[in-house]
């Protein structure tokens, strides 16, 4: 206890300098935590994916379609429980700035395959009964102030024209990591209208969602589906939802790497600032250390004192930084929900924050400790700081 008191007294001998250092560490840990959360948000889709869902898409690339007739064939593959299908609609609400993902989907299968989209039974039925209706995530509904029964018009970017929808339900995510920004409506609505305006695009889907009976058969099912359509006009690639999401992320890998790099740089910067503080502290106390050495305290005693002081400052800063991360993440996530539908500070980020704080404390103390240990008593006594 006495030791801790001594460390605190030492640390706050220069109130201003220590407060500034603590503030610096707080900012750095806050920034580090936020950047890590951004990386986490990048992978949110992967975290949320289920191992019993497969995605079958055109082998050429996502912009090519698959014929609807594949649905019945896929259903015949042993191990397949349910098949749904979707189109990326890419609708624009008023202005392109108001981005949110919009899908045309086979409603019943979609609701069955995505149990994490929680929808009251009454809203579910209302949605299924009305072909012109749509279901929207809580976050998007809140963003535009949509309520049940509202009529929303989206401008199609891939499917030309203005499309009108009636909001019949607002879903919540079952988990924190569930995307609450999606806009889902009936594939039939889109298809009926395509039959009239662009017949060659009708009866096609962007991808099939395949629900399998258990995760163990997923790999076999995927191979079986792809084999079935080999050498046809539209060959397929079937992968787990996780692999599908990962393939998106691997395309923007460069950005993730940059953010990770930057999060390390911020820690290095604060390490330098902290090391500077400790170096100054030790230089000022050279005389004291010499006296302590004369009294018989060993070099390791001093090492303990310096390291302890460094640790006290770093811990204070880290704790403050972690505490501020939560409100900051909330504000950031709310204002940027179009880029990051899911923005939550994970437990892992907190541990990494703590580890970073500890490393800063250790590195900052190394050089001053080495100086204090090497100190010759006579030189130390002579020094005037």
């Amino acid at each position: 206890m006495i030791l801790l008191k001594l460390l605190f007294k030492n640390a706050f001998r220069h109130k201003l300098r220590t407060s500034l250092t603590v503030l610096g560490i707080t900012i750095a840990i806050l920034a580090f935590g936020m950047l890590r959360t951004v990386v986490g948000a990048w992978y949110a889709g992967v975290e949320a994916s289920s191992s019993t869902r497969l995605i079958t898409r055109n082998a050429v690339s996502l912009v090519f379609f698959l014929p609807l007739s594949y649905k019945e064939k896929i259903l015949q593959v042993p191990g397949v429980k349910e098949v749904g299908y979707s189109y990326w609609f890419g609708g624009v609400y008023i202005s392109e700035k108001n981005f949110f993902p919009s899908f045309a989907t086979e409603a019943k299968a979609a609701l069955d395959l995505f149990p994490e989209f929680v929808l009251p039974e009454s809203e579910k039925n209302a949605f299924l009964r009305d072909r012109k209706s749509a279901v929207v995530g809580r976050k998007t509904a809140k963003r535009f102030g949509w309520k049940k029964g509202d009529i929303v018009t989206l401008k199609g970017t891939i499917f030309p024209g203005n499309w009108e929808f009636v909001i019949r339900g607002i879903y919540r995510g079952a988990q924190k990591s569930t995307d609450e920004t999606q806009f889902i409506f009936h594939w039939n609505y889109l298809n009926e209208s395509l039959k009239k305006t662009a017949p060659y695009r009708a009866d096609k889907v962007g991808w099939f969602l395949v629900g399998v009976k258990s995760p163990n058969v997923a790999a076999d099912v995927a191979v079986a589906i792809d084999k079935m359509f080999k050498n046809s006009l539209a060959e397929t690639i079937t992968e787990t939802e996780k692999a599908f999401q990962l393939s998106f992320i691997s395309m923007t890998e460069a950005i993730v790497v940059v953010i990770q790099l930057v999060s390390i740089i911020v820690i290095i910067i604060i390490m330098v600032v902290m090391a500077n503080t400790m170096a100054m502290t030790v230089r000022e106390r050279t005389g004291e250390y010499a006296i302590m050495k004369t009294l018989g305290f060993g070099g390791w005693h001093m090492a303990g004192l310096i390291f302890g002081e460094s640790l006290v400052i770093a811990t204070l800063g880290s704790l403050l930084g972690i505490a501020f991360t939560f409100p900051a993440a909330k504000a950031f996530g709310d204002s940027l929900s179009q880029f990051f539908p899911v923005f939550v500070v994970s437990e892992r980020t907190i541990y990494k924050d703590m580890a970073a704080g500890f490393i800063v404390a250790v590195v900052a103390a190394v050089f001053p400790i080495w100086r204090a240990i090497k100190l010759k008593v006579a030189d130390g006594l002579r020094s005037i700081g």
């Binding site: 201003l16 300098r17 500034l20 250092t21 503030l23 610096g24 900012i27 750095a28 806050l30 920034a31 082998a59 050429v60 690339s61 996502l62 912009v63 090519f64 890419g90 624009v92 392109e96 401008k155 199609g156 970017t157 891939i158 030309p160 060659y200 006009l233 393939s247 691997s250 395309m251 923007t252 890998e253 460069a254 950005i255 940059v258 953010i259 930057v262 740089i265 911020v266 290095i268 910067i269 604060i270 330098v272 600032v273 090391a275 500077n276 503080t277 170096a279 100054m280 000022e284 940027l336 880029f339 050089f367 005037i384 700081g385």
Partner: protein, 388 residues
């Protein structure tokens, strides 16, 4: 009389460790600041060079990009007949009807698939883009399964080198040429005969029509005519504007990233500078008292410490810029979310960025040093002289 700058310089020199640490912190901040600006500049440069001002892109209304667009043959012919289009070789309109699709191809080495843009080209496609040059081999013959690949595609994707074959759309396509498109977006594309590609991909419609204006000032006229024609559901954009719109989201992302990083990082570095300068003032109390006693004014002291702090900032800035300039060798390739295709751009250093970064580092030094300098200048002479 002012205190010589040399005094400030020598002060920094005496406390080497502290100076180096503080300057290193600032150098890192300037490095990040300059890098992000260089990245944004690189993106801008890529986009500007990709489009030319006199060219007009015609795509389907509200479709945002060529990839989402569709222009059927009848509509394309109507556009072709517009009088504002420049005349090319043999009296044909200087126009090309193109197809743009995206496919997945595995990269060399890692085998990881990435998206790549395939462009079906016509007779004038190359001539309409003076920034694209054939480096090796020859142009694909029309009516054959031949393609040419952009330099960065040839290097990074499997089977895309000259003389090699790529399989897509149920055909083998032989690469007969490599084109160099500088830093433009085209260097991440593969080009082939438009009619062959439309057949292979079973697409009944073109994606876009690109033409050069007879007279640059006639843009408004033809834009109004195309967009007002009831037979057409198209919109016309200048090529430069078209590419700018496409990477709006990426540019916005870089801007937000840059601003937030700079603010956070510079706060850290300024705190570092402040700590150093406060210590410098505290250590030199007696010295300051002596200077005052010798007759130097308060403002001289203030200036001396501010200069010291700004020198610190400047040296950090110079080191940071030195390292940032090495970033120019790095090219970033990522997927543009809006078009879903590969976009490669490199860090670009301009004299403007150099100047802004140096000013930024001076400002950091100034802000970090101002409070300590004020404290130094307001010291009481007698008390300061008495301090040990």
């Amino acid at each position: 009389m002012a205190i010589p700058v040399f005094y400030s310089f020598r002060n920094l020199w005496t406390r080497k460790l502290t100076t180096v640490l503080t300057a290193a912190g600032m150098a890192l901040v300037v490095f990040v600041f300059a890098s992000v600006m260089m990245l944004a500049e690189g993106l801008r440069k890529t986009l500007i060079e990709t489009g030319s001002y006199d060219n007009v892109v015609v795509i389907r209304k509200a479709s945002q990009s060529e990839m989402q667009s569709g222009v059927d043959r009848t509509q394309a012919s109507i556009v072709e007949a517009e009088p504002e289009i420049a005349i090319g070789d043999a009296g044909k309109p200087f126009l090309s009807k193109e197809l743009v699709v995206i496919i997945n191809l595995p990269k060399r080495g890692s085998d990881k698939p990435s998206n790549i843009t395939i462009r079906g080209i016509g007779e004038f496609s190359l001539a309409l883009r003076p920034q694209v040059k054939l480096m090796e081999g020859r142009m694909p013959r029309s009516g054959s399964s031949e393609i040419i690949a952009g330099e960065s595609v040839a290097k990074r994707f499997r089977g895309a080198g000259i003389g090699e074959k790529i399989r897509f759309a149920m055909r083998d396509w032989s690469v007969v040429g490599i084109f160099d498109a500088g830093k433009t977006g085209y260097s991440s594309e593969i080009w082939g005969d438009v009619d062959q590609l439309m057949q292979a991909f079973r697409r009944p419609a073109y994606s876009s029509v690109l033409f050069k204006l007879r007279d640059s000032s006639e843009f408004q006229k033809i834009k109004e005519r195309i967009e007002g024609d009831p037979r057409l559901t198209l919109e016309a954009k200048r090529e430069t504007k078209y590419y700018e719109d496409q990477s709006e989201m990426m540019a916005k992302f870089l801007r937000i990233l840059g601003i937030s990083l700079t603010i956070i990082f510079s706060l850290g570095a300024m705190i570092g500078a402040m700590i150093t300068m406060y210590a410098a003032v505290a250590n030199r109390t007696a010295e300051i008292g002596t200077l005052r006693a010798l007759g130097f004014q308060r403002r001289n002291i203030l200036a001396a410490f501010l200069i010291e702090s700004m020198l610190l900032g400047l040296s950090g800035g110079l080191i940071g810029l030195l390292f940032a300039s090495f970033m120019q060798f790095i090219t970033i390739s990522t997927v543009n979310w809006q078009t879903f295709s590969e976009l490669a751009f490199s860090f670009t250093l301009t004299s403007e960025i150099v100047i802004i970064s140096l000013i930024f580092s001076l400002v950091m030094g100034f802000v970090g040093g101002v409070l300590p300098a004020v404290r130094a200048s307001r010291m009481n002479i007698v008390e300061a002289l008495r301090a040990t």
